[in-house]
C-alpha cells in the first residue's frame, strides 16, 4: 500500500515538492587541514569530529630522486605512495548547508606537493603538536607561514607526557603573538570542535587584517 506522504529521503519527491530551485543543490564544501608529525594524533583528531571513520587515502607523488643523471640531463624520478587521512562532517543547521572536509596531512616535507594540494582553498590548518617530539612541528609551521594560510597550534595533551603551558610551546616554535596556541585532548570531540572554532575565528581575523593592512602595501610596491 503506498504511503500517503512522499518519503523525505526520496530525491525525486524532494524535487517534485520543492519550490526552491536549489533545494537539491550540493552543500558548500569547506576544507580544514590537520597537520602534525608522525603520531601527533592527526587521525584521532579527525576521527573525533568526523561522521565517517577516517579513511586512509593514497596518492602517487613523483619526486626527484637524490641521484640525478646530469650527463643525460634527465632527472631520475621516483614515484612513491603517500597516505593521508580524510574525514567529513555535515553542518545542515548552519545558516547555509555546509560540509566540512578534514584532511590529516602527513608531516614529512618531501610531500610538499601534496601539502599544496590539501591547502588550496582551505579555511586553514590545525598544527597538532606532540610536546615529546616538538621538532617535527617546525616544518609544517614554516610551510603555512610561507604560504600565508591561517593556522592555529593545538598541543595534544598525551597521558603521561609533561604538560607544557601554551606560552612555552609558543616560545619553542617561535610563533608570533597573533597565532593562537591552545591545548587539547584530540580524542574529545568538544576539544577538537573548540580548536576548529578557534581556527575559524583566526581565519576571519586574518581575512579582515589582510584586507586592511596588506592591500595598501601592495599598491605602494606596484607604484
Amino acid at each position: 500500500m503506498p504511503s500517503p506522504t512522499p518519503r523525505p529521503d526520496d530525491p525525486a519527491a524532494v524535487l517534485r515538492t520543492s519550490p526552491r530551485p536549489h533545494a537539491d543543490a550540493a552543500p558548500t564544501v569547506l576544507k580544514i587541514v590537520i597537520a602534525g608529525g608522525f603520531g601527533a594524533g592527526k587521525t584521532t583528531a579527525v576521527g573525533a569530529v568526523s561522521e565517517i571513520t577516517p579513511l586512509s587515502t593514497e596518492e602517487y607523488l613523483t619526486e626527484a630522486s637524490a641521484d640525478v643523471d646530469s650527463l643525460a640531463g634527465i632527472e631520475a624520478k621516483r614515484t612513491t605512495t603517500v597516505a593521508f587521512d580524510f574525514g567529513r562532517l555535515s553542518l545542515p543547521d548552519a545558516p547555509v548547508p555546509l560540509e566540512l572536509f578534514l584532511f590529516g596531512m602527513p608531516g614529512q616535507d618531501r610531500f610538499v606537493d601534496l601539502w599544496y594540494d590539501l591547502s588550496r582553498g582551505a579555511v586553514g590548518t590545525v598544527v597538532l603538536v606532540d610536546t615529546r617530539r616538538m621538532e617535527s612541528s617546525f616544518t609544517p609551521v614554516s610551510f603555512f607561514e610561507d604560504i600565508g594560510l591561517p593556522f592555529v597550534v593545538a598541543v595534544n595533551q598525551f597521558d603521561g607526557a609533561h604538560r607544557y603551558q601554551p606560552e612555552q610551546v609558543r616560545t619553542a616554535l617561535e610563533l608570533p603573538a597573533s597565532v593562537p596556541v591552545v591545548t587539547c585532548d584530540a580524542r574529545d570531540p568538544n576539544h577538537v570542535a573548540g580548536v576548529l572554532l578557534t581556527l575559524v575565528g583566526h581565519a576571519v581575523k586574518n581575512a579582515s587584517a589582510s584586507r586592511v593592512h596588506h592591500a595598501p602595501t601592495t599598491t605602494f610596491q606596484d607604484a
Binding site: L30, K77, T81, L118, V123, A177, N190, V200, G201, K205
Partner: protein, 135 residues
Amino acid sequence: MSTHGRAAEESTFVRTYTLTRGRTRPRHLLGLATVLDAGPGRLGPAQAEECEEILALCRERRRSVVELAGRLGRPVTAVKVLVSDLLDAEALVVPLTHPYADTGAESGPSTQLLAALSAGLKRKWPDAIAYPQAG
C-alpha cells in the same frame, strides 16, 4: 602525474595501470574535494569493477573524489581517471553547489562563509571548549 621507470616495476603500480588501462592522467578537471553525484547515464560493458563500486557509492549519497579513493583503497589519480570515464558516460555528474559566494580556490573562503561555518560548528557542538582568541 606520470609513473615512469623503476616505479612501474612495482606490483601496486602495475595493478593501477591495469585498472586505468594505462592512463595516468584524468580527462576531467577534478580536485580532491570535487563532489560527484550519480547521473542518468549507464556504464559501458567493458568498465572496471571499480566503476560499479564508484557508482554504487554515489547512488547512496554524493561523494568526493578523495572519499571514493579512500573507500576503494585505490590511489586518487587512478580514481580520477575512472571518474572521468563515468562523467563522459554521464553515469556521474558534478552536482550544482548552493549558490553562495565561492571566493575562488586561491583566496580561501569568504568571511561570510566562515561565519556560517562557525555558527554551524557551534550548533553541532554546543559544549565545544571556548578557547581564548589570540592576537
